[in-house]
């Protein structure tokens, strides 16, 4: 399943890339959290990252978005190296609930646009579209506290969407959801990805989610996280959660699981 598509992609410039990226946290007990990591994200692809808990997935997102500087190595986006700031065109949805509790759903979603100098009518149109797209239409005037955890996460996704980012980074956005809702949200995410044409990097701990949504899946080792496996799913661009009944899906998940099992055992402090 690897190869083929990859051969064409090497010739085109990567949308974002990490070269020898290492991240250490200082403090009383220094932690080597990540790397060295090399990764090229192709323009328009759906890339998922799976890895054992605490292996440095959120740290990867931090350096890739420009929120955190790598301790070593370089990160570039659209050909330009990042320098400690988040570049224009990158949107991030965080693992934690990041909705603003003092704003309504509508104002949350409009938050970024209000400062771009876009005219009011266009702002309103985009906001309403994003709200509708995320299925929040009835809740536009609600405050986040009145919504469930999953709905709040959707507010954050909508807030990112309206900015029309070219690279969308999502850190376990469905972590708090039940399995059925996750599958449906996965479909939403695919629809969003197809409609916007953005490059998507999704961090998840659900192997089936990674196998079903992605063009490629990167498997990370236990801390310090490195990529130990990279596989192509070979799904068509038009796909949805029904691929789970495809025989290839079973093969993909079991391959993911076999590469991850050893690593997960390590994080639990046991030998393989």
């Amino acid at each position: 399943m690897t190869g083929g598509v990859g051969d064409i992609a090497v010739m085109e410039e990567p949308h974002a890339s990490l070269r020898g990226v290492v991240r250490r946290y200082g403090g009383a007990q220094p932690v080597h959290a990540l790397g060295p990591v090399d990764l090229d994200l192709r323009r328009g692809e759906f890339f998922s990252v799976v890895g054992p808990s605490g292996c440095g997935k959120s740290t990867l997102l931090d350096v890739l978005s420009g929120l955190g500087r790598p301790t070593g190595g370089t990160v570039s986006f659209e050909g330009a190296e990042l320098g400690g700031e988040v570049p224009d065109g990158v949107g991030v949805v965080f693992q934690e609930d990041a909705s603003f509790p003092w704003l309504t759903v509508r104002d949350n979603v409009a938050f970024g646009l209000r400062r771009t100098g876009l005219d009011g009518r266009e702002t309103a149109r985009r906001v309403e579209h994003a709200i509708g797209f995320m299925g929040l239409g009835q809740f536009a005037a609600h405050y986040p506290a009145q919504l469930s955890g999953g709905m709040r996460q959707r507010v954050c996704i909508a807030r990112t969407l309206v900015m029309q980012p070219r690279l969308i980074l999502l850190d376990e956005p469905f972590g708090a959801l039940d399995q059925q809702t996750r599958l449906l949200m996965g479909d939403e995410l695919l629809r969003l990805w197809r409609e916007t044409g953005a490059t998507v990097l999704l961090i998840t701990h659900a192997l089936d989610e990674a196998a079903m949504l992605s063009d490629r899946v990167g498997v990370m080792s236990a801390r310090p996280g490195r990529f130990i496996d990279l596989l192509e799913t070979g799904w068509p661009r038009e796909r949805d959660s029904r691929v789970v009944s495809d025989p290839a899906f079973g093969a993909l998940t079991s391959r993911l699981w076999s590469s991850l099992r050893t690593e997960s055992l390590k994080t639990m402090g046991r030998a393989a």
């Binding site: 224009d88 934690e96 603003f100 509790p101 938050f111 506290a145 009145q146």
Partner: protein, 253 residues
């Protein structure tokens, strides 16, 4: 009828009952009516005093002093809190000071302030500021601590500058705690100023109460006293309700 309604009604009934009880005790003579005026007469005395305008000057004096002290405390406390928050070393150094601050009865500095600044409005303002500012500092620190780091990250992803991050993200996120500090600051300023006037001063509402006490004019004393208490309760209730409004939409319903 919902439970919270019942609670409010019962609370009102309890308060009314207490007032009625006092009224009866005074009228029957179990409580010496020379010492404690029956509530109905207190209200009458207050209305008379407000009508006659003899409290007008004191009111202007006292409220402007409290307002000034409160304003200064809020500005100074918020600013100071933000600075202290930004410098961890400073914060560690200041922390024991803040922890012990309200253990010291701030009030005992008042005689020193009077000796230093004379018997005017100034020592009262300083006393109010001294009592209220640390509350604002402490709540500012707590508020800034309580801003979830992920919200600051959102601000960076949205590429807001420092000032906008502060104004659009940090401040609203910290507001509930800040507000709690402002509320305390107001009552501390009020308590400080009125107590100062009461003990040692030549004007203001607190003074008019102690003056009435010393000249055995119990009608004037109870009238002014009731007025001060009502104003204090009113101001606090107002802030309480306002805070509730602010908080309600943030809380799960």
């Amino acid at each position: 009828m919902s439970r919270s309604r019942t609670v409010i009604l019962v609370r009102a009934a309890v308060l009314a009952g207490l007032v009625a009880l006092l009224e009866v005790l005074c009228r029957v003579g179990i409580v010496d009516p020379m010492a404690v005026l029956p509530p109905s007469e207190m209200v009458g005395a207050m209305i008379d005093q407000l009508r006659s305008g003899e409290l007008d000057e004191s009111m202007v004096q006292t409220f402007s002093t409290i307002g000034l002290a409160f304003g200064v405390a809020v500005a100074l406390g918020t600013l100071g809190g933000a600075v202290v928050h930004a410098v961890p070393r400073l914060r560690r150094a200041i922390d024991p000071l803040l922890a012990s601050y309200y253990a010291v009865p701030t009030f005992i500095f008042y005689p020193l302030l009077v000796a230093l600044l004379g018997l005017g409005k100034l020592p009262l303002v300083v006393l109010g500021v001294l009592s209220a500012t640390p509350a604002v500092v402490i709540s500012t620190l707590a508020g800034l601590d309580g801003v979830p780091p992920v919200l600051r990250k959102v601000a960076r992803v949205q590429r807001l500058g420092r000032a906008r991050t502060l104004w659009l993200v940090v401040l609203p996120a910290a507001l509930p705690r800040l507000f709690g500090g402002f509320k305390l600051a107001l009552s501390y300023a009020l308590i400080g100023v009125i107590a100062g006037e009461f003990i040692l001063s030549g004007s203001g509402l607190g003074y008019s109460i102690s003056f009435a006490y010393q000249s055995f004019d119990s009608r004037a004393m109870y009238g002014a006293m009731l007025f001060v208490l009502l104003v204090a309760v009113g101001a606090n209730t107002l802030l309480y309700v306002w805070e509730g409004r602010l908080a309600r939409r943030r809380l799960r319903t």
